[in-house]
């Protein structure tokens, strides 16, 4: 369908651009923000990658809610699935020679890379989300290449995989309360271990969520026609 150019949205868009650009240009060209304090505190707890420190420690509560958002979206997409009684064929791609063999080669690498990304996240760019994205992409790739879900990967297991990250996060968040601290106040001695454990489980859940977001919606031959 061809859309006419609509005046009101165009004006709104241009006005927004004007206001935002003017504001941006008017800002001073140097501004420390909170970087000084963040860098200093990251050093005291011994995490070299400051962004990871901000994400998982200082503003870990944001990350907790963010994991909840991802899991919530997965639940929401699952709730929008059409029940199988209404003819819904599973996604099966034609796995040509190239796609099939490439996938067979890549899949193990993707798992290793995901693990590496989690590990390196404490000292360089990386972390649970990046690793989870690689895992999720790997899952989608396998599905697109025509690999059916193996029998041992049951619905219940998928649900556990989706939930384990959030549950682990909640448990780790509540633990300090029993020791007299506040929510998410990691003990200095166990910080590195806890964060690595947390990131590992989060990676699993994020990967499962991202794969589910795609695969739960994907199907061929839906009624309603369409291209």
């Amino acid at each position: 369908m061809r859309d006419r150019l609509k005046i009101m949205p165009l004006l709104a868009s241009l006005a927004a651009l004007g206001i935002i650009a003017t504001t941006i240009i008017g800002l001073p060209s140097t501004a420390p923000g909170l970087s000084a304090q963040m860098n200093a505190n990251a050093e005291t707890i011994g995490i070299k990658n400051v962004v990871t420190a901000v994400l998982l420690d200082f503003r870990g509560y944001d990350t907790l809610l963010e994991i909840s958002v991802l899991m919530l979206a997965t639940v929401a997409v699952l709730s929008l699935r059409v029940p199988p009684s209404e003819s819904r064929r599973r996604l099966t791609g034609e796995s040509g020679l190239l796609l099939g063999s490439l996938t067979r080669l890549l899949a193990p690498f993707m798992i290793v890379i995901a693990g590496f990304l989690v590990w390196v996240g404490s000292s360089g760019p990386g972390g649970a989300f990046q690793a989870g994205a690689v895992l999720g992409a790997g899952g989608i790739l396998l599905a697109l290449a025509g690999y059916d879900r193996p029998a041992w990967v049951r619905q219940s297991l998928i649900r556990v995989a989706l939930t384990i990250g959030l549950l682990a996060f909640i448990a780790i968040a509540l633990l300090p309360i029993l020791n007299g601290g506040t929510l998410l106040e990691y003990p200095d001695s166990a910080r590195k271990t806890l964060l690595l454990l947390l990131e590992g489980l989060l990676t699993l859940s994020i990967g499962a969520s991202l794969a589910s977001l795609f695969l739960a919606s994907a199907s061929r031959g839906q009624d309603g026609g369409g291209r």
């Binding site: 504001t23 800002l27 958002v69 919530l72 506040t182 929510l183």
Partner: protein, 493 residues
Amino acid sequence: MTLVDHLPALLIIAPLAGAAITFVTERSVDRIVAVLTSIIITLFSGMLLYRVASGGAFRYEIGGWGAPIGIDLVADGPAALFLLLTAVVGTAVTIYATAYFPKDCGTSYGHGLFWTLWLFMWTSLNALFLTGDVFNVYVCLELIGISAVALVTLKGDADALRAGARYLFASMLAAMTYLLGVALLYSSTGQLDMEMLRATLTPDSGAATGLALMVAALVLKTALVPAHFWLPTAHASAPTPVSAALSALVVKASYFAILRLMLSVMPPGFIPGAGTLLGILGSMAIIWGSLQAMRQTRIKQWVAYSTVAQIGYLFIVFPLADSGADVLAAALGGVLLHALSHGLAKTALFLGAGSLMDRFGHNEIARMTGAARTLPVLTATVALAGVTMMGLPPSGGFGSKWQLVSASIGAGQWWWALVLGLGGLLAAAYMFRVLAVLLSDTPTEVRPTHAPVRLEWLPLALAVAALFFVFAAPFVDSLAGISTIMLHAGVTP
């Protein structure tokens, strides 16, 4: 630290844990988990309210860091009040839903996931009422938005999907605009904590633009006229317990964020004319919403437009915020009282309307004649809830109007009082139109029901609570004062 000190964190973790647990458990267990969680949350909310009322507001430093490094939760009077409202309405909705959703619906599709989605929504509401960080508000808004849209589309029919899609796009527009606002705000101030922002805010264009974008986005999420287009269909097409939660709680959440930004963060006059503009839009909402409600033929749409009108009342506080401490205290107490009583009454109205629809088998108001004789409890619910909408004594609606009127006159802005009076008249008009049908002499057939009695008596209980809510006014007023909002008028809480 005792349990009470940790309540802010627990009030968020409890529903979140419930949501995660219900995702992996069976349907029958889900309902039990949900009911247990709602009881626990209600208990915690009551304890927190008591703590704030007797000991004053307090901050909870997550991770032990404290702002500006970490994120703080703020437990003050308004937050505690909204948390308790959410708990009471949430428990009512939970109990109603145990009867509304049939037990045998399978776990994976549609209705089976209601409990998980509902508990996620509850988490997001509590989180937003407690947060003290503007970026955290963004994440909470997303949680609220996604859970609300998913709950609206739960029925799966074309109307629900269309309403949900419209709601989602409005949410996306609001969310992205809000995020850009935060980007500009942080880039010009270097702060994300509300307390720190209030302390360091200087009049420069970056911060003002950022805050204006944020407030505009929240106005869209609160469905203030003219940004209300998504609300009537969304609230009407949702399953009944969801409609109640949406009208009673979800719109109040984004409103609460506006309260925080306009009154706790921004000093008086930071964005010139903003308060007056919000007051004008609120007045338009009261008038337009009521007029549209009078034209509705279907019952849930009628209730939804009543929500559009009632939201307008909440914005009358903003033009009155800069006229001194007494005026601000009265106006703030008034809108809080309104939010609480409307929350109770609207829940009663939606749940009652849903039960009426169920018994009559259709949703057309004109054909629901004689309900007074055949369905007396439900008719009484609608009538009593209507008393709060109209603002008649001794309802909370009356108490809030009274305070807002006296605040308007005290500030020398008497025209708001005219709007408030007109709003009451219009509400009476749209209420009587429906009540006339319900109370008419010609009874129509109603379907016999095997539904549990709680579907009828629960809404009535809420309507009665709202009916006498004016007596809670002194308590609400004192709690309104326990907040950094009062600093807006130079009063140290």
